[in-house]
């Protein structure tokens, strides 16, 4: 009755998992001996909906359960949190019109979202999803998972990447690498093919769009250029359908339900179902019922295509720019790989086929390919996958604000990362001790049109006449696409202290505080899981003993032996709710021992009767 023990071997190295932290769904995958595999959740589902709910009991639930709660508890649930990662309040005004995010008033530098009576930052909410994926992986792999590769949209800026990395840290994961989603897809796609050539990856996800063009050569995956739009995706298509349905409903019912969270969530689900069916049939119904009232509308593919034409069109501009930046002619692109659920839409496929003049590849599951690629990258980093190497680029130019708010570019977009640039700075007035450097990301000429990354304060400069100080500042974009800034005094060669004030996002101290909070929770989570597992085992053995007590063999035992069994059963029942898995396990062990003889006797009887039955 001992559960089957799988020995993973003690000398085996710690696993590194690959995680696709998506707008709509998230997945975790790991590298098998030769291939990446998606790890399903407890419910067997490979996709974990990126939905988080704080239950009335104060418990955090994630995934399918939370998705159900989205309808019953819209005020305690949140979805599409990825849209808010690394962004400021003024950035998200558009999203707020379309998404029911309950942003806490007065959250400026970092957005805070209300779930019931508590508030969380987007990285904390993402961390809940990551923690669920971590637990799913631990359940299947049977070991603790502490290291991960997480994917991000290629067009994510520094703040969005930093926020994703923070989420990993809060979830108790060491993020070994952030990998761009289209690049990850290319990695999964190219793993077996071992083919050389130019590949374009078109990735239309739930909330983001990326296009990347790569050169594959002998195991090297060199990204030539990337482009995209960090708020364009399947969500936008859903919102179009929701808007027309809401109008209809207002006309038919004479009631505006657009401010009722539950009503809108139900409608969202109804339009998504219709949208998904439309990829396979020429017409589908939006079927909606709310508080006993019904609404139904047929959407033909023709109407659907009119509704979404401009969304599909908006993906083509970045594609053209990307081809141009890669310094290629369209004919030189050998293959196009499709990623993201929205690429199932026939109109999207057609548009891509027309633009690239090549039939897009759809043989890999567009929902899973990014996670699989992340697992391959995890394999590369842990040395389990050899010969493959990713050379990625930074999607946006990095510059500093100069005179008149004009940007002076230091690192150009599509530069292979890691990339660096050194610039020297001086003082304008005698005795000046500080120099403030404003770093921005983007392609526009004026700093105010670019994305402000951070203000770096070069402090404690030796007081000198104006223009005499010479501080060399090194801007380094690492392999995660995240900026690191170091400075030194060129005269003395001594390290210059730099104070970083991120324009959006969490300071290191804030992340540390969240981590320590989450470590307590992680310990709690881990304990809860072990108690749950002990309960399963206890249930199994108690049921087995109960059944055995009706067996003839039980009555062949001595009274003493039967008393021992009863006593052990009772003791196990007493500690069952003690929340102490070690205690439960010790009682299971005890019950196991005192029923050993009974089990053997039953086994013998069973074997004998089996032999009789088969008459050898």
């Amino acid at each position: 009755m001992t559960p089957l023990q799988i020995d993973f071997g003690k000398d085996q190295q710690e696993p590194v998992v690959g995680i696709d932290l998506g707008t709509t769904n998230s997945l975790v995958a790991h590298m098998d001996l030769t291939h990446p595999r998606v790890i399903p959740g407890e419910d067997g589902d490979r996709l974990v909906p990126s939905v988080v709910t704080l239950t009335r009991g104060g418990e955090i639930i994630v995934g399918n359960e939370a998705r159900k709660a989205l309808i019953s508890e819209p005020d305690r649930s949140v979805y599409s949190i990825k849209r808010l990662m690394g962004r400021g309040v003024e950035d998200i005004q558009e999203e707020l019109k379309l998404f029911p995010f309950r942003v806490v008033e007065g959250s400026e530098q970092v957005i805070r979202i209300k779930l019931g009576e508590r508030t969380f930052t987007p990285p904390e909410i993402s961390a809940f999803i990551l923690r669920q994926l971590k637990a799913n992986a631990e359940a299947v792999l049977g070991v603790q998972v502490r290291k991960a590769v997480i994917t991000v949209p290629a067009y994510f800026n520094d703040a969005q990447r930093q926020a994703t990395k923070d989420a990993g840290r809060i979830a108790g994961l060491e993020v070994l690498r952030l990998v761009n989603e289209p690049t990850a897809a290319a990695l999964a796609y190219g793993l077996d093919k071992r083919r050389d050539g130019i590949v374009a990856v078109y990735d239309l996800g739930g909330g983001t769009f990326d296009i990347s063009i790569l050169k594959l050569h002998d195991g090297i995956f060199e990204v030539l250029a990337t482009n995209g739009d960090t708020h364009l995706g399947g969500d936008d298509i859903d919102n179009r359908l929701i808007r027309i349905a809401l109008e209809d409903i207002q006309n038919e019912w004479g009631e505006d339900v657009s401010h009722n969270g539950e009503a809108v969530q139900l409608l969202r689900r109804a339009v998504i179902e219709a949208k998904e069916r439309l990829s396979f049939v020429p017409a589908a119904n939006i079927e909606y019922e709310f508080k006993g009232r019904k609404y139904q509308r047929e959407i033909t593919r023709e109407l659907f295509e009119i509704l979404i034409a401009d969304i599909v069109d908006r993906t083509l501009g970045p594609c053209r720019n990307c081809i141009k930046d890669a310094e290629l002619a369209v004919e030189q692109i050998d293959e196009v790989v499709m990623v993201g659920g929205s690429t199932r839409i026939p109109m999207v496929r057609n548009a891509v086929e027309v633009l690239f003049r090549a039939k897009p590849h759809t043989d890999l599951n567009p929902d899973e390919v990014v996670a699989l690629g992340a697992a391959v990258q995890a394999g590369i980093l842990s040395g389990n996958v050899e010969g493959q190497l990713l050379l990625d680029v930074t999607p946006l130019s990095l510059g500093i604000e100069t005179m008149g708010g004009v940007v002076s570019k230091l690192i150009h977009r599509n530069s292979t990362i890691p990339a660096s640039a050194t610039e020297s700075f001086t003082t304008a007035v005698e005795g000046q001790r500080n120099v403030l450097i404003h770093v921005v990301q983007g392609e526009r000429e004026l700093a105010r049109d670019c994305r402000s990354l951070a203000r770096f304060d070069l402090k404690d400069i030796d007081p000198l006449p104006a223009g005499m100080a010479r501080i060399e500042v090194r801007f380094l974009i690492d392999a995660n696409g995240i900026l690191n800034v170091t400075a030194r005094d060129a005269r003395t060669g001594k390290e210059q202290s730099v104070d970083v004030k991120p324009s959006y996002g969490l300071t290191d101290e804030q992340v540390e505080a969240m981590i320590s909070e989450s470590i307590d929770r992680a310990a709690e989570d881990f304990k809860a899981r072990q108690v749950a597992e002990a309960h399963v085992e206890a249930d199994t053995i108690l049921a087995a003993v109960e059944k055995a007590r009706k067996n003839d063999a039980y009555f062949e035992l001595s009274e003493e032996e039967r008393r021992e069994i009863t006593k052990s059963v009772n003791e196990l029942l007493v500690v069952y709710h003690a929340d102490d898995h070690l205690l439960i396990r010790s009682k299971i062990e005890q019950l196991n021992n005192v029923t050993m003889k009974l089990a053997e006797m039953m086994m013998n009887t069973a074997v004998k009767s089996a032999l009789k039955g088969t008459k050898i």
Partner: protein, 187 residues
Amino acid sequence: MEPIPSNYYDLFGLEHRLALDPRDLEKRFYSLSRKFHPDLYTLKSPEEQQYALDATAILNDAYRTLRDPLTRAEYLLKENGFDIGEQGSKNVPPELLEEVFELNMALEELRGGDEEARAALAEAQKKFAGMRDDIDRELETKFAEYDRTRNRDVLSEIRGSLNRRRYVRNLVNEVEKELVETTDAPR
């Protein structure tokens, strides 16, 4: 951990030449990437990780510089003491400045003009692009000449051609921007 050569040519193990075979350069870039890339150092010590990061940043900068013939030429000129940052306007021939100034004036007049000006802009774009292509051909010849003769006078000529090309490229960009803006504007 051997120190990384700070000279880009030395890092790639190449002779300091102006004409390079792009395929050979790419091959060397890939093989050095396989040696230094941070992905291959994830499980190593923090010092080794930092080394890989720094080395790869230099490698990538070097590849970016040498891959493009123009930035490559700038790099080689700088190596040979023709540093663009220091020269100011002293090495720019006055005729070139006059020419660029006139072209800019003409462009400014075309700006904000009507349909007719648009046609003139398109004409100007063609002309500037033609000038740029002429300079590129000229540069190619001079690159080969320098590699053959190692004559510093040739470098000086290349310096002049590169300066001229910068001006012309700026003009091409300006006209392009102008044409795009007038196209995007509602009619």
